[in-house]
Symmetry: D3
Subunit: 246 residues, 6 copies
């Protein structure tokens, strides 16, 4: 069997974050795997609002078209912007890191909680959990009131806030935690140690999930909703319908 080749698409324009997530994916994947990591070339440097998310989703469509075919794709932004559109543009499997984190939490725990950045993002996460079917297992989505830009191991002062929220949620019945921000990924292990419950990181597990799909030959269905896009005329930009070689 050939070596696994994963395309990691970061919907925002933060190159440093893209590089860091590539490292996380490479470390998780079986030896010899290759990861192509690209990010949007225009749009927001991080995603807090729905307006940011909508712009980023359109960039994902562009990245899918400009990236050569891979064995599998990972949309590496917690809100999974453009995930379903990406599935239309390939017959390889496509995984989102938000979706991956929900699946992982559902296997290690019967009840979990989500920690996010700003209060404004809480309803959208609740809606995503509901649409994903896992809403009933999430006891709370809690925000730190600290933006994406100040998250991560290079902002050591924000980690205690995550730990404090995690301990409070665990006391209320959260058996696992999800950190709903790619920028928090590199503190996941230290939060896990401090709180004492599993902390689910969508980047490493998402990469392995994409690998698992590929290994057993599961490909995106081209019948129905994820079929190749119809040949619609696009004005002032390339058509969305790729050639069917995938």
């Amino acid at each position: 069997m050939s070596r696994f080749r994963l395309a990691l698409l970061n919907p925002n324009t933060d190159r440093r974050h893209t590089v860091a997530m590539r490292g996380v994916a490479l470390e998780a994947l079986p030896e010899g795997s290759r990861v192509t990591a690209v990010n949007a070339e225009r749009g927001p440097s991080s995603i807090e609002s729905e307006a940011d998310s909508v712009v980023a989703a359109a960039e994902v469509v562009g990245l899918m078209r400009s990236t050569e075919p891979h064995h599998a794709y990972l949309i590496a932004c917690f809100g999974d912007p453009g995930l379903e559109a990406a599935r239309e543009l390939t017959d390889a499997p496509v995984v989102g890191i938000g979706e991956a984190a929900y699946l992982a939490a559902g296997i290690v725990a019967k009840r979990f909680a989500v920690i996010t950045t700003l209060p404004r993002g809480v309803p959208a996460l609740e809606d995503a959990l509901q649409a994903h079917g896992t809403g009933r297992r999430c006891i709370a989505v809690e925000s730190l009131n600290i933006p994406v830009a100040e998250q991560g191991s290079h902002h050591p002062d924000t980690t205690p806030a995550i730990v404090e929220a995690g301990r409070r949620l665990a006391a209320e019945g959260a058996e696992a935690l999800i950190l709903a921000c790619g920028g928090m990924a590199d503190v996941a292990r230290s939060v896990e140690r401090a709180v004492g419950v599993p902390v689910c990181d969508g980047v490493s597990f998402g990469a392995l999930l994409a690998h698992a799909m590929w290994r057993c030959g599961l490909r995106t269905s081209k019948a129905g909703a994820y079929g190749w896009p119809e040949p619609i005329a696009y004005l002032n930009m390339p058509d969305s319908a790729p050639s069917r070689e995938g």
Copy 2:
């Protein structure tokens, strides 16, 4: 009270359709109302796939930024692309024509059905109905297997297919119909006459709904999910956060 000024934003690039929808809105609104109708300047000419929809949603963000403030906004594409993002970018009320059609059907009927263009779009519409809370009242989403481009009064050969589907759905318990495609709007009345149940058109009712919101002073909440976007840096394009003058 000043005259009502509505901005109608068509997320796709089909200018002819934009002009037609402006006419429908003007006819519905109280005399003296003004309607500014704009459409995307890039992207798909009609929306069938999720990839089309995602590109169109990003265009809505751009249109919101480039259009001067109005009393209310109507997103005039049945899938309501970018609707929630648009709400972040103004404190005036914003209505989507899909949402408007669901609300109208819920008032005139206890059970309704939705008729759409291609089978691929059925699951997305089912999900939208579910997210909107009205899924249980919709007995079926049925596709004609005829694309958007061949809908409307200038394609008289497709109307009989809508009528036939409508009659079948009415026999199965649909007390009202929703035509889930802006292109079908101008045959709504003839379908209503032929089938004998109300046919809900999101363009005319959506314009009146936006007017109703404005008349009683209801404005988009700026607390929480629809608050003004955070000031995120955007690469190679204008920032999404508008100045707060709205």
Copy 3:
């Protein structure tokens, strides 16, 4: 087009309240509109219990029969008693003020809260929200423990309790508020100013919603659930089935 004629039906017997709601509706509607406001001639003067509500619903049926045909009808009690029965008795559109408030809140906010009078009414409101499909968007139904009879601008001492509840709910994530009692309608604007989030009033918006339905020709479906009542014999009172002239 002829002038809009709305019938406002107050299911309880409080004439003063009926007159006040007529004023609110007239002020909201386009100039030249006419509003016929009637109230129940027997039954409770305000509605707190399910027993009150059930008696009031039967009065709505009587009012529908005794009122001459109008362009649209507004059932002006927050619990929407008799709303679906009223829809059977006309083919004009019928709107409830509770329903109208839920729709308005769903357009201006992603999450809202409801403030009501007595604790006993909370479960019924939760059930109504659930049946309406909007339950997931309501973060809380909170009671003031103050009865209907002590609500409104002529009881200035109760307004601070509404404002205090509103502020607490806004802090917990309510992006808009609904005042679930017609008697609170006339303090809506002052609560909105004090709390800083939109406050949705079902009377003014409901009147405009009914107007919107009429303007675009949407009529209650006579197929299925809202069809004219069957010709059942009624003992000791007029039959419920009206003549079909509507």
Copy 4:
């Protein structure tokens, strides 16, 4: 322990039906039980529309007030009109025959179906099943297109239609049937024999359920939603709030 005394309240005015249901209840209850059977003195003779149901519900409130206290109450109309209002007006247990039939079906079968009279009633029954929490276990609500007035053993020509519908539903996965019309109750056993799956009759089981509640001392909660009605002034009719002697 004293002898069980049940009040059976028929919300419609059909005295013959009231007498028949009293017989069914007496036969089901332990020897020595007593059943007081009363019916509405005004309103519809059978219930097909929501307008009929709303009028009947108000009659239930009147019957609760005019009937002397009993050990338990049975609201004997499949739509359970006024059931929750009746619970406010007593601290004895109150059971509805529709509710009873749902509970029985949920014990004898994992999936069931409901057979009703007219198509117009189907959505209301679907909504009642959903509100009751048992919607997912009901595979279909099917109508015979035969009104209440033509149901029952004295209309032997309608029984074959019930049997035919029952067989079709059983073939589609219905493990039990509910006949959603009191008028069908007396053919339940013959339908059961002909179709070969349990047929749940709300009158006999409802009477026994009321008896079971009484035997183990379970009384309607007077805290919260089912508390005694508030002392509201009633115009032109007796107040709904009974004296607290119950």
Copy 5:
């Protein structure tokens, strides 16, 4: 009619508890009823974990096979282990005490709460309520952090903890309480008196519910899910499929 004969099956091995529950059932049932009470002969003496529950469920299958036919069966452990399997093994009605408590609470109250032993059991109870369809009516499942083994009237020191939890839940809107542990059954009445809301006991009501099913001739459906088990070969133990004499 012959005298009612109930088989009470305790899935755990605690004989003392079995005897106590038999007494409760006998006291509730009409005079002359007979109760055969058996318990598992192997497995856990009380059930706290899912592992305990799974072992107990298998014991219920064995008890159903080794117990001679009765008029009805009561599975006497709050988690209802093996309830659906038991229904396959007889055509008599089978009731679970957890299920019975939920049904009783749904008749006496619009909102209720559940009190259980250990925090680990809360999610399983929430899931059971959801699967049963009554989840939305339960405002909270609260644990005492006291194991089964220390519950009941012979541990008088734990009753105050139940009363305290009950009062707090009643203040939050619980109109009735369910004690989710057979071991708490004998303090139900004293908790009811102390808290002032109905306390639902699944043993006495479950026995009466089984009696009610039997009295009106309702038997477990043998079509579909609860049909007699297929004749599968069992290794090292008796086959699960009983002879069809039931």
Copy 6:
């Protein structure tokens, strides 16, 4: 990193099937992985009824106790019997093949269908899908009316029935298929080729999912529902609570 060691637990007693599933898992897993495959030593040779399933679940508890610790566990029966109990008995990740198939289908398709053996099993599968949160995405659970014992590549005459059902479901909107019986696993690829939509096999994907969990260090939470069982006394069999060395 050490070589991955998976314990595959077959809850039934069919040794041949156990060996076949071990082969499938080994082929899917990265080279060098080891798979210990064990099956129940007592109980049913295949699982069709709930009674079979309940007995098998208890065997899973025994297998968990008698199997030495592994990196991860796969419960290899589509109904996932004993899955949650198994999670209590280890802190390594535990995956079920039914659960795995649902997750895979949710990644490759927006709508899928399930094909199973006997009609009796349909409601239990529908309930499992609902509990898992993916019910809305499954358009149908269809049975072949052919028992487990006649499934698989050594019964070539049953494959055409699967293909025919698959084609019919695909025509109705199923974008992927799940074969809900381990015995069908070895015909999955030929069904996929014949029908033209992805066919999800829980054994191979489940093994890879377990591997993915292990690779990124995700372990079963020991807080709350999946905590180590309480130390309950077991009669006539070993206690369920293992020593805490895991």
